[in-house]
Amino acid sequence: NAGVTQTPKFRVLKTGQSMTLLCAQDMNHEYMYWYRQDPGMGLRLIHYSVGEGTTAKGEVPDGYNVSRLKKQNFLLGLESAAPSQTSVYFCASSRLAGNTGELFFGEGSRLTVL
């Protein structure tokens, strides 16, 4: 019963480097979300997806790109990392149609940009 799995869990980057965070869910959920969590600011939505092949911008999309080539996977990319992107990133998924819409979260990925 894996649920939502994020990799990697920790990463340190230098300014200007690129990386991809992977989120995988095994619950056949349509909706997937990427949030970032910063002290005192709660969770802010970066990008989200309502199904395979679709993505949309959230509250703070700048500097990030996403892709959802397979229903179970949602990738978050940083093309040129900046110190302002130091944060904890959470992926979450849900099923809404005929369901409570409860969000299930991954364990988080802690990213430090030097």
Binding site: R44, G101, L103, E107
Partner: protein
């Protein structure tokens, strides 16, 4: 655009006391969720409130939803140290044919022995 506000942001309380965390949201939302987060951990679902007047209880925690007032509350009864954590509410919004969950800033609760 939906905004979600929680108060207080910080709450330090004695064991055995009661308190309420408030979650206000700015536009129509029919579903409200409460989550708990322990330091360095992920978010754990506590309650799902699906309709006006919904009330859910689990142990010393009780959550309620008033969609007309755009208000949800999380009431803590006779607090114990194990309840120390950060609590988030999230409201569900439906715009442009898609659903998004908007979170409050969280309430950091510390229960003192």
């Amino acid at each position: 655009e939906l905004k979600v506000e929680q108060n207080p942001l910080f709450l330090s309380m004695q064991e055995g006391k009661n308190y309420t965390i408030y979650c206000n949201y700015s536009t129509t939302s029919d579903r409200l969720y409460w989550y708990r987060q322990d330091p360095g951990k992920s978010l754990e679902s506590l309650f799902v409130l699906l309709s006006n007047g919904a009330v859910k209880q689990e142990g010393r925690l009780m959550a309620s939803l008033d969609t007309k007032a755009r208000l949800s509350t999380l009431h803590i009864t006779a607090a114990v140290h194990d309840l120390s954590a950060t609590y988030f509410c999230a409201a569900l919004t439906y715009t442009s044919g898609t659903y998004k969950y908007i979170f409050g800033t969280g309430t950091r609760l510390k229960v003192l022995a």
